[in-house]
């Protein structure tokens, strides 16, 4: 039987959370509460909504032109069982998985380590506001590390760059993802 996962949000297609175009999943709930975190509304374990992992997988597989899934949050490794099921089922379907965690490897238990080892790329480490650097690819602060766990992207050159994604929906509503610089935040606020 498929497990339930507490989610904050999903984005069917994004180009800034890992290689290529990806389905992005923000889980709900994080006890790390890094000061200066961009996603504070994803900390509480009483917010968000539950989704069945198998339903979530169906949604992912119905999305065209994606090469993988990125799981972030919140803290994915605080829901290791459903996250592991999700990672394994996504991989079985032929897509790649990129996983974000604020934890360091020595802090992880066996199940959490299995999540890390089942992903293709892992971004690891707390967000540290004093080390914030918007010029880093896929990371928010310079202490966070990119780990190529599988061979899927071992030859991929990762060029550091600042990248932010702006989505305009069919009703002209604007949303922003990534780690924006001040000028961009100002522009978006003024739209």
């Amino acid at each position: 039987m498929s497990q339930s996962i507490r989610l904050a949000d999903t984005l069917e297609s994004s180009q800034i959370y890992g290689p290529g175009r990806r389905f992005v999943i923000w889980v709900q709930g994080c006890s790390l509460e890094c000061p200066g975190c961009w996603n504070m509304e994803f900390w509480s374990v009483s917010s968000g909504y539950y989704a069945d992992v198998s339903n979530l997988l169906s949604e992912i597989l119905a999305t065209a032109d994606i090469e993988g899934v990125t799981i972030l949050g919140g803290e994915p490794l605080e829901q290791p069982m459903p996250v592991l099921e999700l990672i394994q089922s996504v991989k079985e379907s032929g897509l790649t998985v990129m996983l974000y965690t604020g934890y360091e490897e020595y802090e992880l238990d066996e199940l959490q380590l299995e999540c890390v080892n089942s992903a293709d790329i892992v971004i690891m480490g707390r967000y540290i506001a004093s080390l914030r650097d918007t010029g880093l690819r896929w990371r928010g602060s310079s202490n966070q590390q990119i780990r190529m766990v599988s061979s899927a992207y071992e030859n991929k050159e990762i060029r550091e760059q600042e990248e932010v994604e702006i989505t305009i929906d069919p009703n002209a509503e604007v949303s922003i993802a990534g780690y924006p610089s001040k000028w961009l935040l100002r522009v978006i606020e003024e739209l």
Binding site: Q161, E162, N171, A172, W183
Partner: protein, 207 residues
């Protein structure tokens, strides 16, 4: 003693939909561009017309008004409502402002709740334009059906134009600022699936 409160509305691009939403929420318009008042009257004429002939004439008047709206400058800078003033704060959002007394915030809470209702009704009307056309097509009386379809199509067209103008404006603002700051811009338009109609821009600067 009293103080001024403010609340931002959801993004709005269409004067037509805004006028309908204000009307549906029961806002009393004190001061607004004449076109909004004319639209409200024309809609009333449609609903009050008792004969097919009168109804068709009322629809034609409404269609004429819809076509008069200049999409490049369709949203009024300000609209004075009973107890609340809406001011266009940026390209596509209004700020609702009113005064409240320190003794009681009942009126303020009621007004803010009406603004939330306005946001929801605006979205519902915009989302319902497609089904209005389907309903119009199943209308029984053929002459009336034709007039009704024309009116709904004019309304849909006007709304779509307002969205196109808004999206072009947003793109222009992002592009100009990105260029000024030394960023490149990648644009992607989704044409199929559940993302259809969405536009994504990735703003990139190599370090």
């Amino acid at each position: 003693m009293s103080y001024r409160w403010r609340q931002e509305t959801a993004p709005m691009t269409s004067l037509l939909v805004l006028q309908r939403a204000l009307d549906q929420c029961g806002f009393q318009i004190i001061e607004a561009p004449a076109i909004m008042k004319h639209l409200a009257l024309a809609r009333k004429r449609v609903s009050h017309a008792s004969t097919t002939h009168d109804k068709i004439a009322a629809y034609e008047e409404l269609i004429d008004l819809i076509r008069q709206i200049d999409q490049t400058d369709s949203l009024p800078k300000s609209i004075k409502l009973d107890g609340v003033k809406l001011s266009l704060s940026n390209s596509f959002c209004y700020v609702a402002e009113g005064y409240s007394s320190n003794e009681s915030t009942v009126a303020e809470m009621a007004a803010k709740s009406k603004i939330t209702e306005l946001n929801n009704v605006y979205k519902e009307i915009a989302a319902g334009l497609e089904s209005e056309l389907t309903q119009a097509m199943s209308s029984l009386e053929s002459q009336l059906r034709e007039a009704l379809i024309k009116a709904v199509k004019a309304e849909q067209e006007s709304y779509k134009k307002s969205i196109t103008v808004a999206r072009q404006e947003i793109f222009k603002i992002i592009r100009e600022n990105a260029k000024k700051e030394g960023y490149s811009l990648k644009r992607h338009v989704f044409t199929a699936g559940k993302n259809a109609g969405r536009e994504q821009y990735v703003v990139v600067k190599r370090v």
